[in-house]
């Protein structure tokens, strides 16, 4: 909370997943006036849309919905690729269909003149959000969290640098990392094998179970770009 207060961003890349929902809730509790930005593929099935709408209403956060289509994706793909400097971590098209969403959100944030923009980067790594982590042995989760939660690669932050807009990732702050790594892996996994249990509980405590209990949607599913796979 203190980190969010200190950074006082006026914008958030809002997917209404667990990570960004909690940031948005804390920002509102801190009295920050923030604006949400949500990019979605209008010819896909953007699973985050319903949740973004909900959070916008209950937290009274104005959200700009940014629809994109295939033509647009084709047009910006080369720029996106040059921003990440060819450092594709996953299969290229899988990375790019995620990156194009952040690229668009960050471009728009820049256009709006956002002082800085919150992202949920690091939440999955530190709090066991990825589905493959849910089946790992607890020791393996600890190793993964330490390795990737501290020194992971976050393309959205690379893109922000490339576009010269300040992105703030509260989960990657030193203090949050330190606290997160003290939480035993068993506390991160719920009884239905859902990740980020501890963050979910915090969200639920504020009364927002609709997002607090939502099923994990990978970023590309949330934005609806999972139906496309193109490379420059």
């Amino acid at each position: 909370m203190s980190y969010i207060n200190l950074s006082s961003c006026d914008c958030i890349a809002l997917s209404a997943g667990i990570d960004t929902s909690l940031i948005a809730i804390i920002a509102k509790l801190s009295g920050l006036r923030i604006r949400g930005l949500y990019t979605f593929f209008k010819d896909g099935i953007p699973r985050d849309l319903v949740y973004v709408n909900y959070l916008s209403k209950v937290l009274n956060i104005p959200v700009t919905f940014i629809p994109i289509d295939l033509e647009y994706v084709k047009n910006v793909l080369r720029d996106v690729y040059s921003c990440i400097d060819g450092k594709a971590y996953h299969e290229l098209c899988i990375e790019l269909r995620n990156d194009v969403v952040f690229y668009t959100t960050l471009m728009k944030a820049k256009e709006f003149g956002c002082k800085c923009i919150y992202t949920g980067s690091g939440g999955d790594e530190l709090f066991a959000g990825y589905s493959f982590m849910l089946w790992l042995h607890e020791n393996e989760i600890e190793v993964y969290r330490e390795k990737w939660g501290i020194s992971g690669r976050y393309p959205e932050l690379e893109i922000a640098n490339c576009l010269d807009i300040k992105a703030v990732a509260p989960y990657l702050s030193k203090k949050v990392q330190e606290i997160a790594l003290q939480i035993p892996a068993k506390c991160l996994r719920g009884e239905c094998f859902e990740g980020k249990r501890i963050l979910r509980n915090i969200i639920n405590k504020f009364g927002y179970e609709f997002v607090g209990e939502r099923i994990k949607a990978p970023a590309e599913a949330g934005a609806g770009t999972d139906s496309i796979c193109i490379t420059p």
Binding site: I45, R47, S56, K57, E213, I215, A217
Partner: protein, 196 residues
Amino acid sequence: MHNSVIPLGEAVIRVALSSEDKDSIYAIMRVGEVDLAVVFVYEFPRPSPHVLNIGKTIETHLKMGTPVVVKALKKGFEKIETIEFLRRLRTKEIVAGDVYIEDHLRYMEDVARETGTRLIEPLWSEDLEELLYKEIGNNIKPLLIGTVNKLEKWLGIEIRRDNVVTFAKYCKSVGIDPLGERGEYHTSSHKPVTQR
């Protein structure tokens, strides 16, 4: 007319047709228990709110202790595929949440006849506004996930005890049935969560 009691111990496969909207959830609550919830996904030119919300739909049913399956139906073959699917599940009873649209009821009666199942429509003929109040009174918290333009300002809002009267009044003022039975709005009706 359609609600009747099944003797305990009798082996039945009671299937609820559900989209996790407030009416289908309340229909499940009314009949007590169902063995399986089936979510049929229809083809539309644009994704329906219920397709966008499929994750929450699965989650809600599982939290109610009801296994759930999702079946996509091909355009033009919806009825035949529904019948085939229910037959494959060896369905004995179908629970649906229709309230007053005769065409829907007739469709369901056809499906029941073709599959040799018994149709249970526990909400049929209820007073629309009263039914909405009963649903909210039973802790269903419908969240509007899709609306017609006239209801746009309610999009993303949860209907609760403290705003249900305002909502019903608003619906009537713009000429919309407060229950939204004709698809004027779609809801996600996640149940209250037990804190873990």
